[in-house]
Amino acid sequence: MKNRLKVLRAERDWTQAQLADALDVSRQTINAIETGKFDPSLPLAFRAARLFGLRIEEIFHDQDPPL
């Protein structure tokens, strides 16, 4: 799954630590999501969407082919 977390964070001039604090996770988790090593759960994706004022699909993109 691809995501725009790093871009959105950079647009707001936030550090990974600040974003981690806002989403109540570790900085390592933010880094792993941004680098595509870890896909967040739905609740965490919703928290990120609320934080950025966007819809989930505007942040996270599915890479799997359609069924």
Binding site: S26, Q28, L51
Partner: protein
């Protein structure tokens, strides 16, 4: 919600508190387990009542340690929980697949020393530690 510039991440602060709690419970359990192991032989000369009391205390503190560990895992964020539980799963698995042949070899005298349970505990501990470090490195 606007992220502020924190001195310490709220998450980190919470985990630090939980780690301290976990450390206290594990230390208490280790101390009571030592008392239970060596008390009957060295402190109260196998007095049944005191041995039973020590065993009961060991179980009670052990339950506290389990509950503290459960709380610790619940409060980890999802990536940390995944790393922790993966490491725990590997440690339990290694303990099982080594422990059974280890015991059988002792029963049939394939190995010429007693298959002490302590070795398995150390093996599981080391396996957990290595798995945890690997998981942390993998998602660094």
């Amino acid at each position: 919600m606007n992220p502020s510039k924190p001195v310490e991440n709220r998450y980190q602060s919470r985990i630090r508190t939980n780690v301290k709690r976990l450390y206290r419970w594990h230390s208490a359990w280790a101390a009571v387990t030592l008392l239970m192991c060596f008390g009957p032989g060295f402190l109260w000369h196998r007095a049944l009542g005191l041995t039973l009391l020590a065993a009961g205390l060991d179980v009670a503190v052990g339950v506290g340690m389990i509950l503290a560990t459960k709380k610790f895992i619940e409060e980890l964020d999802e990536l940390q929980r995944k790393i922790f539980l993966n490491a725990l799963g590997i440690a339990v698995g290694v303990g099982l697949i080594v422990g059974v042949p280890w015991t059988v070899m002792d029963v049939y005298h394939v190995i010429h020393f007693h298959a002490n349970f302590g070795f398995l505990v150390i093996l599981q501990g080391l396996t957990f530690l290595v798995s945890l470090l690997y998981g942390t490195w993998r998602y660094r």
